[in-house]
């Protein structure tokens, strides 16, 4: 009887210590041992390979996204959406990291795009053309090969039955480090890009 009672207490302790937080409710804090979970599978809508080709094929932006679940980072667990980019301009490929998404990186934030923030329509920048209850994803864009990064906001669009995303890049080069140019000139410039799902 005593042992059963002890076991119940142990099980209850384990249960209490593993807390699940919906990533929609993240508030900038992190609790050790908690699981920041994409409870409503909102990140799934962005998975896949998306592409924008212009300038007679000389300009290309291709982004591949993949969701990783239950990633442990030594303090807490989380679901994240990671992405990698191929960028070509005027026929010159500046970076092509699409295959890196298949690498088994210990920290998914080592991918060039990563995050798990979901933002509502009226969160700045306000989304005028989002449907009701539609969530966008705000992910960190590290821009490691792009001179400058920042973040990217993804909005899913269905146009004539075709899956697309609007990727809005915002650059924040305000992280001074010695030797940094005062006028960074990124290859992939900030702005909105509509990409079509190809895979």
């Amino acid at each position: 009887m005593k042992n059963i009672f002890l076991m119940i207490i142990v099980l209850l302790s384990i249960k209490c210590s593993s807390q699940t937080v919906n990533i929609k409710d993240k508030d900038g804090t992190r609790t050790n041992g908690a699981y920041y979970k994409d409870v409503d599978n909102e990140l799934n809508q962005f998975e896949g390979t998306y592409q924008l080709i212009t300038n007679n094929g000389n300009d290309e932006l291709t982004i591949v996204f993949k969701k990783f679940t239950n990633q442990y980072n030594t303090k807490f667990y989380q679901d994240v959406l990671a992405g990698e980019i191929r960028f070509k301009k005027n026929g010159v490929t500046y970076f092509d990291n699409l295959n890196k998404l298949n690498l088994n990186l210990p920290n998914k934030y080592l991918h060039d795009i990563c995050g798990n923030s979901l933002i509502e329509n009226d969160t700045r920048p306000v989304c005028e053309d989002c449907s009701a209850n539609q969530f966008r994803a705000r992910l960190i864009f590290f821009g490691r090969n792009n001179i400058c990064g920042g973040y990217v906001i993804l909005q899913k669009i269905i146009e004539n039955g075709q899956e697309k995303i609007k990727a809005s890049f915002y650059h924040d080069c305000n992280e001074y480090y010695p030797g940094q140019s005062e006028n960074p000139n990124p290859y992939l410039v900030a702005g909105d890009y509509i990409l079509t799902r190809i895979n």
Binding site: K26, D27, G28, R30, N73, T74, K75, F76, P106, N107, Y109, L110, G115, S117, E120, D122, T123, R124, P125, V126, R138, I140, F142, R144, C148, G149, G150, Y151, S168, F169, Y170, H171, D172, C173, N174, E175, Y176, Y177, P178, G179, E182, N183, P184, P186, V189, A190, G191
Partner: protein, 539 residues
């Protein structure tokens, strides 16, 4: 030449009385009490033994003022013999140039390490832009109470220097060079790499910036009188008998250096200026066992805690103008109005002015820079620049971001010491999406060490940045997590509250300009849930 470079490692055993005892029940009360008392007794013994072992070497480290250093007459006399610098006006504003000593040095960051009652001073020297080494003059007391002098040079990348500034010690293996300046047969004219056969480094976790800190003892960091981890490594260089080998040689031009190509002095600064006939001479290092050298890596101009004037005083000054001598006052009001126009245009740009004050006390601002579409504006840092005023695109976050706070830290760190008290980041944004009016916020540093600790803690204790090699990537992660706090429909007061909840009591304060742009109010948390922020006008 063979060197062994190692670090002493100390472990602090957990005293018995610190270990938790679980109560078994009242019937075990006396037994538990007995065990507890025995624990205290044994714990006390263990602590004593540990301290004996710890103090055997009697190694302590502390920062000393230049005045205190000068009171050590023998060390000071030795210092006066050092003539390693040539006058360079460009460096005058940032570092101490002492004609008597003929050397540029940072008098605010002298470290004293004492071991076995022998003193070892580490004095950071200047680093010129084209100098490939961070240089520390090391004065080591010998058993006969005289002092030996060496310059240790650290070949660090910009990224590694930035890491040190953030409180992280980089791996120093194969990055330490030495130059002997002791005179006589021990003089060398270039730096040789201390690439010993066996190099072990151990980093000591805590180091107090004020007072004495014994290794192995906890540094009870409370955010006020101690600094976080920087400079937590003591380097002991032990010289042993080694094959005779020549070092030095003619001084080639400075340039990229690797361990197989030892760095040399650039023309000025610490190097010879060509006027000395010994410049470029090859002098073999004495092939004898020498005393050990104990030092710690110190970056010049880093840890100095500048006396910070009342933030209200420097803030109010920003709005002052002088029609006769316009450069005598900052007069930022027209700049704020210009930024208001950029915000009103609705275009997705940020505008920025960088603020500067030269050595004559004349204020100036940079030209207006408008960022590319969807891109944040970048301030200028270093030299005379001490801060910036920038606008936020009205569709984005209408409050200071985490990277704006980091920008304040950078402005402080990169500014010349005399300008640090004025370090500031000012942000102008629309009060609300549909408002015509704008708000002007400013952040100022109250306590540099507390502020630096806050930034370092958020940057380096974030598990999402594990395995990151670049500071800018870490900043993005922390910035993103700070942005999570922003909720839909937050008004300005809620945004102020959000900012203060994260940064109040962490060494910076938040101010808001009045509508007339002639005064500021300090914003603090009130503790009242209905009016969460208190505004206290600057007198």
């Amino acid at each position: 030449m063979i060197y062994f470079l190692y670090l002493k490692e100390y472990y602090k055993p957990k005293p018995f009385f610190m270990r938790k005892k679980q109560k078994q029940g009242s019937r075990f009360l006396f037994g538990t009490l007995g065990l507890f008392l025995i624990g205290i007794a044994f714990g006390g013994c263990e602590k004593e033994l540990f301290e004996d072992s710890l103090y055997k070497d009697k190694m302590t480290i502390k920062k000393v003022s230049f005045e205190e250093f000068k009171r050590n007459l023998k060390a000071h006399e030795k210092f006066k013999t050092i003539r390693e610098g040539t006058r360079n006006d460009a460096m005058m504003a940032r570092y101490e140039y002492n004609e008597e000593y003929g050397v540029y040095f940072d008098p605010d960051n002298i470290k004293l390490i004492t071991k076995d009652n022998l003193k070892n001073y580490t004095i950071p020297l200047l680093k010129e832009p084209n100098d490939s080494l961070i240089k520390n003059l090391v004065l080591s007391e010998k058993p006969d109470l005289s002092y030996s002098a060496k310059i240790l040079g650290y070949k660090l990348t910009d990224e590694e220097i930035e890491l040190i500034k953030q409180g992280i010690n980089p791996n120093l293996t194969n990055k330490i060079y030495e130059k002997r300046i002791d005179g006589g047969s021990n003089v060398s004219n270039s730096y040789s790499n201390l690439c010993g056969l066996e190099i072990n480094f151990t980093y000591v976790p805590n180091y107090c910036c004020d007072g004495i800190h014994y290794y192995g003892q906890p540094c009870n960091y409370d955010g006020t009188d101690c600094s976080p981890p920087p400079f937590s490594v003591i380097i002991e260089v032990v010289y042993v008998l080694c094959p005779e080998e020549s070092v030095g040689g003619p001084t080639p031009p400075s340039g990229p250096v690797n361990p197989t190509n030892p760095p040399t002095d650039p023309g000025g600064g610490l190097g010879g200026d060509g006027s000395n006939p010994d410049d470029g001479a090859t002098t073999p290092i004495n092939n004898e066992a020498e005393e050990e050298v104990i030092t710690t890596l110190v970056l010049p101009g880093l840890a100095g805690v500048t006396e910070i004037e009342d933030p209200c005083f420097s803030l109010k000054k920003l709005f002052e103008n002088d029609s006769i001598s316009p450069h005598r006052k900052p007069d930022i009001k027209p700049k704020v109005e210009q930024l208001n126009e950029i915000i009103a245009s609705g275009l997705p740009h940020e505008g920025i002015y960088s603020l500067a004050k030269n050595s004559n006390g004349d204020y100036s601002t940079s030209n207006l820079t408008i960022s590319p579409t969807g891109t944040s504006a970048l301030p200028k840092y270093g030299g005379d620049f001490y801060g910036s005023i920038h606008s936020h695109w009205f569709l984005l976050y209408p409050m200071l971001t985490w990277s704006d706070v980091f920008s304040l830290k950078t402005s402080y760190m990169e500014a010349i010491p005399s300008n640090r008290t004025e370090a500031i980041t000012i942000m102008v944004a629309k009060e609300c999406l549909t408002c015509e009016s704008t708000v002007v916020y400013a952040i100022k540093i109250d306590n540099w060490n507390t502020f630096r600790a806050k930034i370092g803690n958020e940057l380096f204790n974030n598990p999402d940045t594990e395995n990151f090699t670049e500071i800018k990537d870490k900043i993005k992660v922390v910035n993103d997590q700070f942005a999570e706090k922003f909720r839909n429909g937050m008004n300005n007061q809620e945004l102020e509250q959000l900012f203060l909840e994260n940064f109040a009591n962490h060494g910076i304060s938040l101010y808001k300009a009045n509508d007339e742009l002639d005064n500021w109010s300090k914003l603090t948390l009130s503790g009242n849930q209905f009016i969460p922020v208190t505004k206290t006008p600057c007198n």
